[in-house]
Structures are given as structure tokens and as C-alpha cells.
């Protein structure tokens, strides 16, 4: 495990170790983030923006698009100095356990579970666990990257 996980520049493949634990990231699901994200993906489901419509649909408040998880499960690499330029996202899995509500702050941790080379490419796999404001498990993730 790396002693210093506050790298200023991205770690190389060799510097990343199997079992490395990424420090907890707090991530606010703010209305501003929702706005930017939904603008980018052109998803304007009213339950993301309108409390009454969200409640009428059975939720307790405005909810976030599920794949907003992409934002916080990638942000955890900031502690590694980010990802190197040219990193390619090869695979992604999410297991969702409930809605993420606008205004919540999520806590995400990650662990490097696999690293290997194949056909000249270097692969890193990271499992993430995200807890909601009630400390309930809300999203599990598994990401595979081709590390330059």
C-alpha cells in the first residue's frame, strides 16, 4: 500500500499496488451538479428538478440520475493525482441499492482489486463503495481502466 495517497501527479501503473485503499471521498449531489450533468446527457426527467413530481412518483425528494455515480466514483482518483492523460475506461459495473437524493453528501471509498497486463496494455480494476447520508450502502462500483 502506498504511504502517500495525496500525490500531486498521477501515479504510474507500477506505483499502484494491489490492495491499495483509496481514501474516502465526500461528494455533494448539489443542484448545480445535477444541472450540469443532466445538460450534458440531455436527461430532463422532472423528478430530478421538481420536488412535488418526485414525491408524486414515490420518492421522498428530488432524485439524481443513477449514473451520476460516474462523477463520484471517478473523483476518488484525485487522491492519486488524478488519472494520467490518456487513461481509457474499459469496463464499468454498478449495483444500485436505492435512489440518490439531491442535496445528499455521499461518501465513497475504493480499493485496487486487480492489476494485470494483457496484449501490451496495463489494466487496473478498482471496486468502490458509496454510502448515502444515512450511511446506507447506495452504490457499489467496479471500474476497469487501461492505464497508460
Amino acid at each position: 500500500m502506498m504511504d502517500n495517497l495525496s500525490a500531486e501527479k498521477p501515479l504510474t501503473y507500477d506505483q499502484i499496488t494491489l490492495g491499495m485503499a483509496l481514501p474516502e471521498l465526500e461528494f455533494e449531489i448539489s443542484e448545480e451538479r445535477i444541472k450540469k450533468y443532466t445538460d450534458a446527457i440531455e436527461d430532463f426527467n422532472p423528478i430530478y428538478f421538481d420536488t412535488e413530481k418526485a414525491r408524486a412518483s414515490g420518492f421522498t425528494g428530488k432524485v439524481a440520475p443513477p449514473t451520476i455515480a460516474a462523477l463520484f466514483i471517478l473523483k476518488i482518483y484525485d487522491c492519486l493525482g488524478g488519472q494520467p492523460d490518456g487513461t481509457i475506461h474499459a469496463k464499468q459495473a454498478f449495483h444500485f441499492f436505492g435512489p440518490v437524493y439531491v442535496g445528499e453528501t455521499l461518501k465513497t471509498t475504493g480499493t485496487v482489486v486487480k492489476k494485470h497486463t494483457k496484449r501490451g496494455k496495463q489494466y487496473i480494476e478498482v471496486e468502490t463503495t458509496s454510502l448515502n447520508s444515512l450511511n446506507d450502502k447506495i452504490v457499489l462500483g467496479r471500474s476497469t481502466f487501461i492505464w497508460p
Binding site: R33, K36, Y37, D39, A40, I41, E42, D43, N45, I47, S57, G58, F59, V63, P65, P66, T67, A70, L71, L74, K75, G82, Q83, D85, G86, T87, I88, H89, A90, K91, Q92, A93, F94, H95, F96, F97, G98, P99
Partner: protein
């Protein structure tokens, strides 16, 4: 709730179609807080990337898949849903991406009906850019 009340094997999910341009890629990057030149710097990408130019973030296409699932089943699928994809081909500015999904398995469980769909995204040349599966409980 948008969900159809009956699901059956072979049922097609409603396709989502999105035009990808550099502006969308840049907005997505702002939302994600990333500034990787592989997504945003055409000159860098042409010189340094195997793709010959900028590419969209892989998770952007995953978001379109999520929209397709929600359009079919309503957002309740997030209460117990697994979405698993492999990014197979780069998505570039100028591409038009379409989502496809089909119900391939339905099992009854104590939690409800467990539905598995095969899903993918294709570009305007029918090239598969992403493929995988979703498993949800409704």
C-alpha cells in the same frame, strides 16, 4: 411511473438516440470535473491518442442506457439494479449514438420480478460502442 405492467422475453426497450459533439463532451467533462485532453484537446488527441482525435467519456453512453432503462421501467429500478458494461469502441464528436435493449430473462423472486436485459449502444454505422447487461427487480 412509466413502466409497462407486463414484461416478456424478447421485449425491446425504447431506443434513445443522441448526437455527440465536442460541446456535449466538454459539458460532461465540466460535470465530472475532469479535463483529460483525450476528451477535450483535439490537437493533443490527434498527436498522442490511438484514436486520432478526441473521444467522449465512456460513462456518457452508460447514462443513455440508464435513460432507456428508466423510460421502460421507471426509476424504481435503482432500488435493486445492476448495470454492467464494456466500452468497446470510441465515441467521437460527430457520432450519433443509439441505445438498444431487449429482455432476455425474467424470474420470479421473493423480492419481485427479476428482469435481465441485454443492452448495447451503436453508432451511426451500426458499430457497437458499448455492450453489457442490466438486471433489475421490479
Amino acid at each position: 411511473m412509466n413502466a409497462q405492467n407486463r414484461q416478456e422475453i424478447g421485449q425491446q426497450l425504447p431506443s434513445i438516440k443522441m448526437k455527440i459533439d465536442q460541446g456535449r463532451i466538454d459539458t460532461y467533462g465540466e460535470a465530472q470535473g475532469e479535463n483529460d485532453p483525450i476528451h477535450h484537446d483535439q490537437e493533443w488527441a490527434q498527436k498522442n491518442s490511438m484514436f486520432g482525435g478526441t473521444i467522449a467519456q465512456g460513462m456518457m453512453s452508460m447514462a443513455f442506457i440508464s435513460q432507456m432503462i428508466t423510460a421502460q421501467f421507471g426509476l424504481y429500478w435503482v432500488n435493486d439494479g445492476v448495470l454492467d458494461v464494456t466500452f468497446l469502441y470510441p465515441v467521437k464528436p460527430g457520432d450519433t449514438i443509439s441505445t438498444q435493449g431487449q429482455v432476455v430473462k425474467i424470474t420470479e423472486s421473493t423480492d419481485g420480478k427479476r428482469i435481465t436485459c441485454a443492452i448495447n449502444c451503436t453508432n451511426q454505422d451500426d458499430r457497437i460502442v458499448l455492450s453489457g447487461s442490466i438486471e433489475i427487480v421490479v
